[in-house]
């Protein structure tokens, strides 16, 4: 492989959307009301569609003939490069929507920046995905506001969700050698450069939602490097990959 850092980067983008997309799809048939069920399923579908593009390009860049499906279904937990936030369990509906909002707030800024990528294929995928991500952000932001500034029970749950998930936000913005190589090549932005816009976006929504952003900036790390995923990823993969594990090579 001529560019292992590029492959890593593409796996990060694709694994984020794949793992979060799978998580969100777990709501299918279980959401509090039909409209939300449909909205969650559609969000998951968009994310899985984006995965197809990112992992498809990852396989192409790797040059070993692996398809997007191969990368999604035949790798084990230690090869996944998603941030820890994406793999966290759904919890209640509020926790799912808080996770979605925190992800969307980063995702939109990231995709906006990637539209200027020096790699035309990356810019193309970003331009396609950013429209969908912006639509997700509209909805997740609205929902966080409505539930945060809702009843005392919904407020309590949303504050608990924010407290629980906030320590997973930092991982988006800490650069490692893969990020530095991508920034240097002009393929992707320096992750830290996205923080100010993210903080502004989150602060606006949380203040409208009457929620308090935790003061600590402690950050769990290890997802995007693959060094240490949380215990939840393995369980997710046993669900997502069981068919390929039980019937290797099955297709329809």
């Amino acid at each position: 492989m001529s560019n292992p850092a590029f492959f890593e980067f593409l796996c990060r983008m694709g694994d984020n959307t794949l793992v979060l997309g799978h998580r969100v799809s777990e709501w299918c048939g279980h959401a509090p009301v039909l409209e939300e069920d449909i909205a969650l399923a559609n969000t998951a579908l968009d994310l899985i569609g984006q995965t197809q593009m990112w992992l498809g390009l990852a396989g192409e860049v790797e040059g070993n003939g692996r398809s997007a499906d191969d990368l999604a279904m035949l790798r084990d937990a230690w090869d996944f490069r998603n941030v820890l936030l994406a793999e966290q369990p759904n919890g209640d509906f509020g926790q799912t929507m808080m996770r979605q909002f925190l992800f969307d707030a980063w995702h939109v800024s990231m995709l906006e920046a990637l539209q200027q990528s020096s790699d035309a294929r990356v810019a193309g995928i970003a331009a396609k995905s950013v429209k969908e991500a912006a639509y997700h952000l509209d909805r997740s932001g609205d929902t966080v506001i409505r539930l945060g500034d809702g009843t005392s029970e919904s407020h309590r749950r949303m504050q608990a969700a924010l407290d629980l998930l906030w320590p997973y936000v930092g991982e988006f913005f800490v650069a490692d050698e893969v990020d530095s190589a991508m920034a240097e090549a002009g393929i992707a932005p320096d992750p830290a450069s996205l923080r100010a816009a993210f903080d502004r976006r989150v602060a606006d929504v949380m203040s409208e939602a009457t929620l308090t952003i935790p003061e600590s900036d402690f950050a769990h790390k290890g997802g995007k490097s693959g060094f240490r995923h949380s215990e939840h990823l393995g369980h997710l993969l046993t669900q997502m990959q069981w068919l390929q594990r039980a019937y290797p090579g099955a297709s329809w």
């Binding site: 909205a39 399923a41 579908l45 968009d46 197809q52 396609k128 995905s129 429209k131």
Partner: protein
């Protein structure tokens, strides 16, 4: 047999969208280019939403339609850039959507009127709907729910 590109466009305009069969794939604006590459007919198609399950069905339908008309060497290419926008929906397609009961996309972010009774007294039920490209709205006058084609 090597039919003219214009002829192929006409044929494509008879291939219905699998989810909204009143409009064609050309009305939807997803056919980006038709050209002959030597003896192969190359058709560039762009997906509406990246995860839309109809995309592969559409490619199959296009291929079948071309084969039915005697073209055998067909290459369908997926082109994601520039990304599909609802601005590419044809005027003919928009009119057909309304007739079918789906409010066409508007930059304002919502329908201007109920496609059934034309009342402008409408409200959003959900930002998402029965397919990735639609949202659910309701008319407060005739009380009917209806689909709105999301504007992207």
């Amino acid at each position: 047999m090597k039919p003219a590109v214009d002829q192929v466009w006409d044929w494509l305009d008879q291939v219905p969208d699998p989810e909204i069969p009143v409009i064609s794939v050309v009305d939807l604006g997803i056919v980006r280019e038709v050209r002959w590459e030597d003896d192969a007919l190359e058709i560039a198609v762009t997906p509406t939403y990246s995860g839309c399950p109809a995309t592969s069905v559409i490619s199959m339908d296009i291929e079948t339609a071309m084969r039915d008309r005697g073209v055998t060497d067909i290459r369908i290419k997926t082109r994601i850039s520039p990304p599909w926008t609802t601005e590419w929906l044809s005027d003919k397609g928009r009119a057909k959507l309304v007739e079918y009961g789906i409010a066409p996309p508007r930059p304002a972010g919502g329908p201007d009127a109920c496609p059934r009774c034309k009342s402008s007294n409408v409200e959003r039920i959900s930002q998402f709907g029965s397919t990735p490209c639609k949202a659910q709205w309701r008319c407060r006058d005739c009380m009917e729910p209806f689909d709105y084609f999301k504007c992207i």
